[in-house]
Symmetry: C2
Subunit: 118 residues, 2 copies
Amino acid sequence: MARAATTADTFNALAEPRRRQLVDALADGGERAVNELVHRVELPQPQVSKHLRVLREVGVVDVRDHGRQRLYRLNGRALKPIHDWVSSYERLWSERFDELDLVLDDLKRKEEGDDGGE
Amino acid sequence: MARAATTADTFNALAEPRRRQLVDALADGGERAVNELVHRVELPQPQVSKHLRVLREVGVVDVRDHGRQRLYRLNGRALKPIHDWVSSYERLWSERFDELDLVLDDLKRKEEGDDGGE
DNA sequence: TTGACATATTCCTATATAGGAATACAATGC
DNA sequence: GCATTGTATTCCTATATAGGAATATGTCAA
């Protein structure tokens, strides 16, 4: 079997650095025409269109027709699943969670001590 | 050109669902032998070893020899780049940022009003 | 209609997988 | 040494790209 399709999920779609660049180019939430994006990411127009298609298929961007242009906009909500997944690991490196860890360790110790005690 | 190598960066390594499963199986920060992981993710042992190799090459897991076993442990810090990247978009869906948005919009409006006014 | 501009699609190819099967390598116990 | 257990690697194949080039589609203007 080959690798999962890029359109399989957001994670796969964003595994491609150029697509992340495109997302970055739309980061402010504004709309951008394809040519505008072409200039920002410095890639041939067909490639930009192809990457945008993938992003569209996983719902990371939305499109809107506007005369002869097509305006793309970031749909940030689509990134939430990824954020949720990695966030559950944030405690492994963030200092903010040091105190929480102490509490959890404490709970764990108590629970183990209680084990079968009831 | 084909897709970027899975070992190119953490994002590509984790684009594979099975590898995310493996990471999840190590989520508690503890060490696990390969066979233990094999049972958890219900995948043939060679595949698990191959996926672990990829994860090791991007630094998502660490290994340690222990007799005839090899103990793998999650290196959460390696997930930070991904977290940082998606987090910068969190404001696009999180209610927590609604108020911040108001402030930023306000600043923006003022700036635009000021534009060239000096 | 014709032309110019904006964007999408098609065809092609080299490449990197992921999975399966078989096997190699390593450490332990007898 | 030899069998056993635990893990990694190799060989094979089908498949999905990403990029390049050329071209198709769509829209506006004169």
